[in-house]
Symmetry: C2
Subunit: 376 residues, 2 copies
């Protein structure tokens, strides 16, 4: 894996770069659609590629481990083959979902014992196990197994949690060295910076991950309940320490505004379920603001869904029709909205890239942040 | 509207024809996907056209009348514009859904008073009202308002019901004459032959509809609980009376085998929710038999969904992946299965047409009926 930092925008820390993986290159900044259980909900692989222009998508280790399970995954030849996505893939470590979805029965130095949210069966995740599973899934970028510290954790808890995350990172790295990719292509492990909302812990965490000379670094444990300005402050602290020449991935963030603010602070990669989850609730993001498709005002609005939109659904269907589908609970409503929102998020990061390269990012961002706050 | 009977297959009553409508021509025999509430569930308009090769789709008058309602429909410029489908459309009369979904509060000579299944509001459908609504929806082919006699009705009930259907047909025809299409293109009304499972009533009904010299005729009230051989017998009785030079539409039927048997008996057009409804339950129709995707046997079958399939989903995704989606309750499972099943139904009627034209329909049909009964 190779990252080239192409340009940093004037008056901002916003960066344009190119990340080369075994399954193709990724132009950053980039938004990565989330394909939790091996599928971006409601969206065909063809639509991801042709209509949304996704360059990389996510899979969730926790979900894929429980279903279909690693025996099937290995027989398939990894997730790329299993879900017919031949471009770059990233998997999380399973840690976040174990803490948010699983029923934890025991947490120890060794790892986390938990019950499946599907059938209540018992399982154990450890740093070594997470790496082994991610080897079986075969994503191009894989993540360190960490404890995602709650946003409201007190300093002592956060410090102990970070200590554990750091020891677990060490074990992840050792397991990476001990094991080989299963499908013949390179996999890069990104360490995750934790430290909750505490400057000194975030600094220490950033300094620590840097020592591993990894192919890229992630910032985790944000957008988990803390205030937005605190999140931005933590991003600033961490990015002032992370090396310039490696990609930076802000995990699970966020709104379009969050993404622009984080790009402005030097973040390169993003993922979030918001575009698809909100789509399923009939909420659209556009460059003019948000649209709640349940609103009666769209009932007889026969204009295209989004005249500025980059995907075919924006121009094929009318707002009135989409509202009808959403109100009627029709699957197609969720499908159209999901394609639209994902295409919008990818456009947003692509446009940020273009603005970074021609040094107009900062003023464009300020305008966009105003516009994106509008409720249409 | 113009129907050309091109060929009748040797040793069968199976017919190949072409039906010309204001929105393009339909090659028969043909299967018409059902788009109940203005959408074929889970399927984009683009997929219907490019991947499923649908030549005509249905809309349901009952559903569209209740939601979005005729004010929106007329402002949109009719259903073609509303749901972005620019090829032929057919609407039913609303009668069948009133009887099956609505809560009927009063049935009289005038029509049917019922409560909406959505919000319990009261509405009245009459022959005149049904025609008016279908004028507002603007389908190329519209259906007479009838009483769909239950399959287990006794002779007296069936006779009285048919009498009413015949008087209602007369009123539909008068209303058609009194009104004009709303969007500048021709609409053709198909009368419906009822008569339950009674030969003499079916004969009388077929003789009666013939007197209207309509552009096409439908056979209704079948596949509603009667035995299959009785259904086929009724189709034989009716088709022996209906004119050769008009298309014949068997409403709401059925399994792939039902369709082949009815084609063999001279039916030209079909619709059914089975391909999409069964798809949402993980059941696929293929030319080698049916596949229950929940079955564990597909768990590690990495062959394409259907190597003989005509749609891209058949070759893009594996059986193991589709099973994973179905078991996980992922929308994409229903989407893939729906596209597959609809493409299969359309292929089946297209292939029947090809076999009719080269006089090999009968032997092909016999083979297919065997094959289609297999559970894979």
């Amino acid at each position: 894996m190779e990252f080239t930092l192409e340009h940093t925008s004037e008056g901002s820390k916003a960066r344009a770069g190119v990340l080369k993986t075994a399954h193709g290159q990724i132009e950053t900044p980039i938004f990565m659609p989330v394909g939790t259980a091996g599928t971006v909900k409601g969206v065909h692989a063809r639509e991801l590629e042709d209509d949304i222009k996704a360059q990389i998508i996510l899979g969730n280790t926790y979900h894929l481990y429980l279903r279909p399970g690693m025996s099937i995954m290995e027989q398939a030849g990894g997730l790329h083959k299993f879900n017919s996505w031949n471009k770059p893939l990233l998997t999380d470590s399973g840690g976040f979902q174990v803490f948010s979805l699983g029923h934890i029965s025991k947490m120890s130095e060794e790892g986390v014992r938990f019950q499946s949210h599907i059938d209540g069966s018992y399982h154990m995740f450890s740093p070594e196990k997470s790496i082994d599973i991610q080897r079986s899934i075969g994503a191009d970028i894989i993540m360190a197994f960490d404890e995602c510290t709650p946003g409201d954790a007190d300093y002592n808890y956060a410090k102990k949690s970070l200590d554990l995350t750091q020891r677990w990172l060490d074990r992840c790295m050792i397991q990476m060295d001990k094991t080989e990719p299963k499908y013949g292509h390179e996999q890069s492990l990104f360490p995750i910076v934790q430290g909750c909302v505490y400057n000194d812990l975030r600094s220490r965490a950033a300094e620590n991950v840097k020592t591993y000379n990894a192919d890229g670094y992630a910032i985790g444990g944000l957008a988990v309940g803390e205030k937005e300005d605190v999140m931005y402050e933590m991003v600033d602290v961490v990015n002032s320490i992370l090396p310039e020449d490696r990609p930076r991935y802000l995990m699970g963030v966020g709104t379009p505004i969050n993404i622009l603010e984080a790009i402005d602070r030097g973040v390169d990669m993003f993922d979030c379920v918001m575009p698809t989850r909100n789509a399923r609730n009939g909420m659209l993001f556009t460059r003019k603001g948000t649209m709640n498709m349940r609103n009666k005002k769209w009932e007889n609005d026969f204009l295209p869904v989004d005249p500025d939109g980059t995907s075919y659904v924006d121009h094929t269907y009318s707002r009135a029709y989409l509202r009808h589908l959403v109100i009627s609970g029709e699957m197609l409503g969720a499908q159209i909205s999901s394609i639209h929102n994902l295409a919008f998020y990818v456009w947003l990061t692509n446009e940020a890239r273009r603005r970074i390269k021609n040094d107009t990012f900062k003023s464009w961002k300020e305008e966009m942040v105003q516009q994106l706050s509008v409720r249409l």
